[in-house]
Assembly symmetry: D2
Homo-oligomer: 488 residues x 4
């Protein structure tokens, strides 16, 4: 419904966007408070909206869903008192694939009342056959309340003939294709699921006598929980306060394909993925970049904040001094409602300013995490030149992003991706810089701990955005006309 | 009036706080838009509230004052349309010295209607004889509307016998003691003043055919203005769109005493002060620190974000690798309204998380800009230890802060300052770290460009917070019982 | 979900409450504007919340649902621009039978996406077998999003095998028992239905080339539409801008039972029901009352505002002067959010004040529309006595309300109804008045135009709240334990 | 400042508007609660905004000022808790004479800090030499914060040389011309003043051990206070909880001129003025009208709600039946923010609807309180004609309003007053009614209790709006060019 919504992120559309973070806790007093803290730590995974559902033995299910930051909504005594009980789950989102605008009914967790009681579900990822599933369900009499494809799961569960909710969820998920890490709850159980490929992250933590599920470990840290382990690809865990963690594997086992872009950009640098520090991987990408694409220069400067670890690695490996040539405004928020034209035109200057005194006369290596449309890169390069830099060399901590992601990431259409239509040299000319180099796919895999690089016959990660090799066919998109990469 | 206000900054009370930023523009269409952008760039100087006054030949004076960030208030078309005209000034504030709570009537700019027309005034700094002035004015029949001492200036102007507003302002300012950088406006004139010692910054910029005044150069950058020069200590400039800049020096000339803490912490690193890059001074402080207080260690880690430039300098000079051992949550906002107890207790964890994988087993040098109460330093140290650091060495980019500032900075009472009651060794024990070292006053002056260090007989800067030598007697505070440092 | 909602109407719980008003328009530009006006005129039928859905050929369906008055929500240019198109329906509600608290998802119209397109539906009345239907639908896999029983209709439609929406609605309504006047819409059709007994009102109007459906004629007046006719009991009309009005009768024909309380209290006095002026009926009730229960007195005084027409009739018939002995505060609103105790205790004094000068020393006849719990009547009587009245005689414009309504009216549980537990004389003693008299059922029927009174074997109206004779069995309530009147 | 405010009362500009109501209480716990209730009862005297100041021995002065109704702002526990203490005053306002738009700083009570402590002041009426006073005060160095002329009083008090606040207020009020009823407070005293002519009302009440001051008696009723007496013209009372009521008469004694329009329209019908019931006066006006201007007709119909008492009197005296031919929408609020054009064009239909069934074919006497611009009267007449009335006879319960009021009432400029430019017959033609008659001035005085009518040489009331005889010269307006009535 409707064009009448303000555009989100008007000045920040040149990054891939992780679409969601999920968090759940069972077995602690006032679980919703912990969920709020966890979601605050996962805010980088979704800034548009957040929601929490809690359950209390006497008060039943309660929920709150709000647009805006977690800290602006889910901290007040008066709101949090409406979410009592020892069991709660929550969700932050950027925006869902299906949504044209922003409506509060699209904000997760979703809630469904089944014959055996209620359940709430929150989900990070994307269902690649959602359109077909939705059409089928509507034909059979289901009424959809949101434009989110996650709602399919609730309707599939409602129609399952199983007797309890976890088994109904298994039934439902077997019909679903795509990438999904799910946190769900019944009146007594906290449930976590990762899709068979394990594309999206999900970890298990222990807090006192209770348990937590989280998209990333940094959200366990904030509540003082200890990391127990990752949920495995294709695993479903059903957790109760008393009974602990039950684990089942409802899907056919497949070779895992974790999203390598979580290492490059999505996850927070203080998170641990697959036993490996995200920060260290990013720093190591910088080291690999310096080895693969050396350059003579006077200053290594990160594009803040996501380029910082790779820049530190690049500076260390190359011996070129590291410096903050670009300063970020700490008070830049998520979005502006109906800004004046003058303010809209400011674009990146609202967020970044060049440290002119440091840049002037220098040959500068700018280290950024990725190039998507290239619009921001052009503006940053111009700011650096205006400040009097002698040379500008871009070093990018990921391979060229040439393919859209269909697994829960907001990517532009393929033709908007700079690397989909230009060679590296054409991109360099387009950005008008002295040099532009990307890390190689093999270099990226090495930085991520795969000493011998990418296994071409069966890549260790999902790298479809770089390689065009999609581990799950994006059925809905193919139906809409998306062209897969021609077999070589 | 009243205890019923939420406490501001509950989790961030362990820094000195600059209290204000000022900005003004004349001679451009929709001047208020430029002021909004300038204030956004000065937001670090005051996050509690902001205000803009504009003047339009047909619409007269208009004003808007709001609590909260500039970007949340002064960007919408609908509000900015109420602030038309080619002349505008604005102000961001942390909180004024006189205020117990937060009331919109205390938010600057202040406006006064005089016999010859209206004027608005905004002010960064503090009037050290405000209590005495206020008492005198009330006895003579002035009605104060705010608890801000800046309002004294308006009342003094109202009672002046001069025929025009700039001369009335001169009259008023001659009665005032303290530190003040003022941006003011009449129907046609933009006015800037710095106090005779030039304690607070104020710079002049050129934008197209118009002119701008700003606390810092970073705010000129955002609107695309060029830095012309600093307003000199004791100078008053009166600027019109047509007539350009008139300069007068209404006060007795004195030896300048610019606030050295602007270099250490208050100003943004991308600003230029006295022809010198703030970033470079901070980096150089790190270099001096490494020379003065060397240490064997495995990692130099900044306390984000203010410790970063000094940490880069320390790492460079010492040869110890630089790394991001502490990660800052980008989505941490200014304040929480009535948070739950659980959230209040989180304190610094809401804002910072340790990068455990990087810290574990290492001897860590933590570089911070200052130690005020020491409460945050203790928590950070504990987080680092909990993450498995082998040793923790604090290096502080300023000398011990042992005296409160009375010149427009929010400092705790003297007895709350750690360095006022403890020796360096006692502080080290209190923080329970392996070593704690501060840069020397001479080292700080050298980093700020004074090759031969501090001139003891006539210091080149105001360094009262370190030295206890106050260049202007804090009369109001002395009346309230503050004890000056005994003469040596 | 949840006890955390503010209580609605804390000072006004001593009336039966009509629960809804519905309105729809097709074939006019900006139809939603007309709906907003119509709902404003129907506000007396539901003050808690309102909603509008519109359809535009290019923009599709849009909706807005808000708590509060129509005039506070649905008048602003900015909101109404989001509801474009020549077809719209709307709803105001007091609260739905199923709801414990207030949630925006319970606010009608409800929207459903079917295989052949979307439909929205709004509903005045109550489904008496909703609990059973809901249980059945959930067992078969429907997911309910609201606690409103109206949602059953949408789910029944979704599961119908008919090929178009009006026929699906017929299918659905044949499964539904109770009282319902429905206004619904598809992309091109405006649909109206009355239940087979025609308990709730619904009228058809003509406006320019378009058509309107409304709960009452007063809402046709406000938009300048002309009354065409009433929708008949058991009739469904399907209206298009081009094709005009199609009429079908999907239900088995029954003897009509229009709600007689619409004449007594629910409808606005300027509405026409069954060709008869509501005002005139109420005035005639006063005339009948004066004939049935004459009294010697000095003043006839209405309890404002609903007792006014009957008081005018009583005064006219009896020859006793008419006067405003009780003055109503015009600025009394719907509800208070968390009022102070002092204010809560004020109760009826916030709304009414006695005109002491008029009352003092007089024998007063107070004419009110009904007695429900009797709490307000006691307070009013006390105010009149405190003002110095010599005698107080209550005359009530309806028979004793001894039975709850299950057809879309909010009534207290039977044991809370004064007339369910007390005889007329006991009530008089309870209220401590000099006399208390109710109009007889026959008198009421005569005033409503039935010259020979009530037809006992087949009453011309639904008068269950007075007689206990329910024309549709309240199945859900019987399942919950409600005892029907014993057969005589 | 500024044209950017929404227009207030877009649909209701055809009445004279009382501009303010005042209320104060001392000697009761939580006095602000009582003030809120009192202001609610006085809401008809000012709907735009309200304010309360309270004083508590420990918490000092606190204040809250809000746009909107009292019941929407001053009922919540959370706000009222910020207004503690046993002494409070409050104010409701329509809009002040000096204000072009609406700014919260113009909302009373005003507060001033004097050398001997603070005081707050609220005021009903108008200062007729405010412009001159303001000019003089600004020239002498006073800074005005509002556009309200009431602020003059505070500044005059600040400059007084008297030692205590009541004496300073006497000093100030001796400089002031016009009509004013004041309620003020210091830390311990409640103060009430009426101007020497007693144009505006003010009454004293007793509540428990405390005291109340109020514009009208109806506000004493709501808090359960007893009317003690009216404050006399030219009297100042200074009330303390312990010491009771001190009375002084600071002004030269003059012949009283109470506003006769308070009887006609401003005051609530349940108030007592000068020992006389407002309702009874209005009813008696109807009786006089029926005697002075009889007519043959079938129905006497009030224009709701202000014409009702006179219509009852007219019907009673004439023997023509009384009926509600026009029905008022109870849910019509104060104002609309940026309404759509369609809604704006609705005008009076949003508020009133004709009871067609009653009107059709009848000769109708419409009784209204006054005719100001005549715009609403024209619309009402048209609605009555459209409904099929055979004849329309207007009877107006006041003489022709031919002169503006300068004593605290919002009147159109003289040329906008219908009666200023037309004879009675021209007005009848303009309204296109069968007859139009006003009560005579003598008839009005008789109805108000002056058996021998108006004393021409020294009228018992201020009736300037009818007679053009202004008891206080409107100096500011004369300076602006207003022409007094030529001497006869």
């Amino acid at each position: 419904m409707s064009k009448h919504m303000p555009p989100a992120h008007p000045f920040d559309d040149d990054k891939l966007k992780e679409e969601c973070g999920v968090f759940g806790v069972v077995g602690v007093a006032d679980a919703a408070n912990f969920v709020a803290l966890g979601l605050h730590a996962l805010q980088h995974r979704g800034q548009e909206a957040g929601g929490i559902v809690s359950h209390h033995p006497l008060e039943g299910f309660n929920s709150a869903r709000r647009f805006g930051y977690v800290r602006d909504n889910f901290t007040s005594q008066s709101l949090m008192e409406t979410l009592p009980g020892p069991l709660a789950i929550g969700h932050v989102r950027y925006s869902t694939a299906g949504s044209k605008g922003a409506a509060i009914r699209d904000v997760q967790p979703f809630f469904g009342e089944f014959a055996m009681g209620g359940a709430a579900i929150a989900h990070n990822g994307n269902i690649t056959n959602a359109i077909a599933l939705r059409r089928e369900l509507i034909e059979r009499g289901s009424i959809f309340q949101s434009s989110s494809d996650s709602e399919c799961i609730i309707h599939l569960m409602a129609r399952s003939l199983q007797r309890n909710i976890p088994e109904r969820m298994e039934d439902a998920l077997r019909r679903v294709e795509g990438a999904f890490s799910i946190v769900a709850m019944t009146r007594t159980k906290l449930i976590g699921v990762r899709d068979p490929l394990g594309v999206r992250p999900l970890v298990l933590g222990k807090i006192g006598d209770g348990w937590a599920l989280s998209s990333e470990t940094c959200a366990l840290d904030i509540i003082g929980a200890e990391l127990v382990r990752e949920i495995e690809p294709g695993e479903m865990v059903v957790i109760t306060a008393d009974g602990g963690v039950d684990s089942v594997f409802p899907f056919r086992r497949q070779s895992p394909k974790f999203c390598i872009f979580e290492h490059v950009y999505f996850s927070r640098p203080d998170s641990i993925i697959g036993g490996r520090s995200v920060y260290e991987t990013r720093r190591q990408i910088g080291v690999e970049l310096a080895r693969e694409t050396p350059v003579e220069a006077d200053l290594v400067c990160p594009v803040p904040d996501s380029g910082t670890p790779a820049a530190i690695g690049f500076a260390h490996e190359s011996g070129i001094p590291y410096g903050m040539g670009i300063i970020r405004n700490q008070y830049m928020g998520r979005t502006f409602i109906e800004p004046t034209e003058q303010i809209r035109n400011m674009g990146v200057r609202l967020k970044l300013n060049v440290n002119r005194a440091l840049i002037r006369g220098k040959r500068v290596v700018l280290v950024d995490d990725s190039v998507v449309r290239g619009t921001t890169s052009r503006k940053i390069k111009q700011m650096i030149i205006d400040a009097g830099a002698a040379e500008v060399h871009f070093r990018i901590a990921s391979p060229p992003t040439a393919w859209p992601c269909f697994y829960g990431v907001d990517t532009p259409q393929r033709e908007k991706l700079l690397a989909a239509t230009m060679s590296e040299e054409e991109m360099r000319e387009h950005l008008a810089v002295d040099s532009l180099k990307f890390i190689s796919l093999d270099g990226l895999y090495r930085a991520a701990g795969e000493a011998s690089g990418r296994n071409k016959s069966c890549p260790q990660y999902c790298d479809a955005c770089f390689s065009g090799e999609y581990p799950v066919a994006p059925s809905d998109m193919i139906e809409k006309g998306f062209q897969l990469k021609a077999a070589e």
